[in-house]
């Protein structure tokens, strides 16, 4: 239909060379790569904080390693960095930015300059997080509860400001994705021919746009309270600290779905491609992301079950929270059913795909028990909750992120990594993760509170198991990173156009690596994203 031949439509990595050209680019692929490098950097930094405080937790309390104040600062930094700089932006900005236009058959996102702005806002947020480190030791926890966060601690104030900017980066990404999905699908790409990764990013984008402004307002009000003492959250001035929790969780519950729903999208891509199969129940999987999005706005109060909010409110939030289980369960069943009679290929990305399925089963199941009101009173604020959210935010989202990077790496870089090292790392990551986080479930239901520097001797065995696990996990991730970087050597093999045999546009049509404008001419879509043939068994 439309054929443009541009002289500058060459390999996007080779076009317009030089660092400056990268920093002012509007090419979604370059922006995505810069997001990828930035998110990986912060993932490593957040991980180092975790390893340090897990070393502290080898023994209880003060034993000459770090002080209680330092420990409190470290878990705050770990949380703030991981939530706001890694898992919320992660998949959408570092992978979605690259893949979405390609999967839709578009030549870029609808709003390329907004895309660059979103990257700049992310960098400003990152820089402000460093300013916070210079200003002092933020120690409020990533949840910034009042009145503890209404303190003279300048480090907390800089962190609130950093999160404010990062929120706008997220909003702009969501806006861009929604417009692009509505307006820039290639001819023949109907809504139900879109890959499920796109559906997931679409659902995520809705949440990014509607929920994040509430975070912005909450952070602003905390800053205003700190500077001008207006008495909105501080009870010393007649304010209500529980009101702050309502504002905060109204964003932060949808935020956890912003964190996990893109991972579901990646899981669909990996399972379909490496089984050479249509995703079982495609429409249900697509709609389940939308369903989770809508219900996700109604359940924030489950983070406040012990706050003293009314029994009626608790009952309603418990009731609604159970409904998030159904679309999640449907996804897990549909992915499992997809494997049936497929042609299963256990290359590295699929090893991560299967881990997502395994970890999310545990993550989801441990979430449902927290909805049971009477049982939640016992489990609330214990290590059980910490383990639950790590099974989803790390075991589902970050595993999907790493799996997605391995899946799209050949497309993004034009190079193939070593398969043996890739699989070894994936297996090490899997076992390291289970050792680290399963022990925490038991410790939590035994009553061990979270955010604890000191603890009872009976919990030490679980802490020690968890600490050992984190080093295996880190080793696996490090091995994966080195393997990926090693593939960038000149001597490493070049990637074929479609090493996985996938049927989505970014693999079937776009060159590897893609051109500046992605395609030589606008593709015309004639089949669904997972239309594979069959053969007799």
């Amino acid at each position: 239909m439309i054929a443009h031949v541009h002289p500058e439509n060459i390999n996007y990595l080779k076009a317009k060379p030089g660092l400056i050209n990268w920093f002012v680019t509007v090419d979604h692929k370059r922006i995505s790569m810069m997001f990828l490098i930035s998110t990986l950097f912060f993932f490593i930094l957040g991980g180092v904080y975790a390893m340090l405080f897990r070393l502290q937790l080898w023994s209880p309390g003060s034993h000459g390693f770090i002080s209680a104040d330092t420990y409190n600062h470290f878990f705050t930094m770990h949380g703030v960095i991981m939530v706001f700089l890694v898992v919320v932006p992660g998949i959408p900005s570092a992978l979605g930015n690259f893949v979405l236009p390609l999967q839709l058959g578009a030549k870029d996102l609808a709003l390329p300059k907004i895309n660059l702005t979103s990257l700049y806002l992310y960098w400003i947020g990152g820089i402000l997080a460093f300013v916070s480190l210079i200003a002092g030791h933020a120690d409020s926890g990533w949840t910034f509860y009042a009145p503890y966060s209404i303190s003279k601690n300048p480090a907390v104030l800089w962190m609130l400001t950093a999160a404010f900017f990062l929120g706008f980066s997220s909003i702009l990404t969501g806006l861009n994705f929604i417009v692009t999905i509505h307006k820039m699908r290639a001819p023949g790409m109907t809504w139900f021919r879109m890959p499920l990764f796109i559906w997931a990013l679409y659902a995520t984008a809705i949440m990014q746009i509607f929920a994040t402004p509430v975070l912005a307002i909450t952070l602003l009000l905390l800053l205003i309270e700190n500077f001008f003492h207006i008495g909105i959250f501080d009870p010393a001035m007649g304010g209500d600290p529980v009101l702050m929790q309502h504002f905060f969780w109204f964003y932060s519950h949808p935020a956890v779905y912003i964190i996990v729903v893109p991972a579901f999208g990646i899981c669909s891509e990996l399972i379909a491609t490496f089984s050479k199969k249509e995703i079982f129940g495609y429409k249900f999987v697509a709609f389940s992301s939308i369903g989770i999005t809508l219900i996700g706005f109604l359940v924030w109060g489950h983070h406040m079950f012990v706050s003293g909010q009314s029994e009626i409110a608790n009952t309603i939030f418990s009731f609604l929270t159970f409904f998030t289980a159904i679309p999640s369960a449907i996804k897990v069943f549909n992915w499992t059913a997809t494997l049936y009679r497929g042609s299963i290929d256990l290359r590295t990305p699929m090893l991560y795909g299967l881990q997502i399925l395994f970890n999310f089963t545990i993550g989801g199941l441990t979430g449902i028990i927290l909805s049971i009101l009477s049982v939640d009173i016992h489990l609330h604020d214990t290590y059980f909750v910490v383990s639950h959210f790590h099974y989803v935010a790390m075991g589902t989202t970050m595993i999907a992120f790493v799996g997605g990077v391995h899946y799209w790496w050949p497309k993004m870089t034009g190079k193939m990594y070593n398969e043996v090292w890739g699989r070894t790392a994936a297996i090490l990551v899997f076992f390291g993760f289970q050792i680290t986080f399963f022990a925490q479930l038991i410790m939590g239901s035994q009553g061990s509170p979270r955010r604890y520097y000191h603890y009872l001797p009976e919990f030490q065995i679980y802490h020690r198991i968890s600490t050992v696990g984190v080093f295996f996990l880190a080793a696996g991730l490090f091995m994966a990173l080195i393997n990926l970087l090693a593939s960038l050597r000149k001597s490493a093999p070049d990637a074929p156009q479609n090493p996985w045999g996938a049927r989505t546009l970014e693999w079937e049509v776009a060159p590897t690596p893609p051109l500046v404008f992605n395609f030589e001419e606008t593709p015309i879509v004639t089949h669904g994203p997972y239309e594979y043939a069959t053969e007799k068994a």
Binding site: A68, N72, D139, G141, Y145, P147, Y148, P235, A236, G238, G239, D240, P241, S275, K276, K277, I279, F280, F284, S307, G308, E311, T315, S318, F319, F322, F323, A325, I326, F333, T336, A337, Y340, R341, S343, I344, D345, L346, L354, L357, T361, L365, I368, S371, I372, L373, S374, V375, I377, D381, Q446, G447, P449, R450, R451, Y452, Y532, A533, T534, E535
Partner: protein, 314 residues
């Protein structure tokens, strides 16, 4: 009642524990069943349908099965609705204290707890209660949000400044049961512990008699020594010279002490009393102004006792 710990849960010592543990294990086995089935199927399919040739295709493209999809949507839906009702009923029971509950006021402050028994005129640093008696706690904080958690009783509630939160329980075993603070509240959050001591009714009455007048038979300094732990001073001040969050009391009486802001002061009864009533006014150099005020919290007799105790620490 079996009070031994299981792998997953602590000892049981309240009337709530049976109900909650039953719900926990019911859900546990439902989860195990789903988990085992799902993981088994994944493993089975991955092994059975492993790709043997690089270009091998799937042997079927099954995209729907209406019966299965209806079943695996309906059954989880029924299960979660059942779980909701169990949780709701158990929870409502935990929220409505019986009419004959005895009341104890709980005050949380960084980083200690105090328990007030208004009728008996007792103020204590551990929660002492009789067995088989409903107890209702009315709780508030003097500074930031804390949370009062008794794992053996399976209950907790946040303790919030500017408002009262309540929780109730009925202990079913005598003994001493751990209490944790479970809402992050700063430096010593993980040390903000206390205990519930559950006594037989006779022992409880004996305790009440002594506790309602802890100064009975004691000199002011001895009384002060008791208050040093009961009122939470020990959380921040040592009496043996060890550095802590607050200045040690050892040897300070009569000394000339430098203050933040350049002035200095002689530590006498005027200064000591002011430190308890308005601690942010004259902070000792090198320390943070974080001590909460005890104005209205300590009686004149208690203030007198603490001052006498400090004076006795050479």
């Amino acid at each position: 009642m079996d009070t031994t710990k299981s792998l997953w849960l602590p000892e049981k010592a309240s009337t709530f524990a049976n109900n909650i543990d039953w719900a926990f294990y019911l859900y546990y086995w439902i989860s195990v069943a789903f988990f085992v089935v799902i993981v088994f199927l994944i493993a089975l399919f991955v092994i059975r349908y492993k790709r043997r040739r690089p270009d091998q295709l799937a042997s079927a493209q099954i995209t729907h099965n209406t019966v299965m999809e209806t079943v695996w949507t309906a059954i989880p839906l029924l299960i979660v609705m059942f779980l909701f009702v169990i949780g709701m009923k158990g929870y409502w029971n935990m929220r409505v204290a019986p009419a004959n509950a005895m009341q104890v006021d709980v005050i949380g402050r960084k980083w200690s707890w105090s328990f007030e028994y208004p009728q008996e005129g007792i103020s204590n640093d551990t929660l002492v209660v009789p067995i088989h008696q409903p107890v209702r706690l009315r709780m508030t904080s003097m500074d930031v949000i804390h949370s009062f958690s008794i794992p053996a009783f399976r209950t907790k509630a946040d303790v919030i400044p500017g408002r009262y939160n309540t929780l109730w329980f009925e202990a079913t075993e005598t003994g001493t049961f751990q209490v944790f603070c479970t809402q992050y509240c700063g430096t010593n959050h993980s040390y903000m512990w206390t205990a519930v001591k559950v006594m037989n009714p006779d022992d409880y009455q004996a305790w009440v008699a002594v506790a309602s007048d802890p100064s009975r038979g004691k000199t002011p300094a001895q009384f002060g020594a008791i208050l040093y732990t009961k009122k939470g001073c020990a959380a921040c001040h040592s009496v043996d010279g060890t550095p802590g969050i607050g200045p040690t009391w050892k040897g300070i009486w009569g000394s000339s002490t430098a203050l933040e802001g350049g002035r200095s002061v002689t530590v006498d009864s005027v200064y000591v009393v002011k430190s308890m009533m308005d601690p942010a006014a004259d902070v000792v150099k090198g320390f943070q102004p974080i001590m909460p005020p005890f104005q209205g919290v300590l009686s004149d007799k208690e203030v007198n006792g603490l001052a006498a105790y400090i004076q006795s620490l050479k």
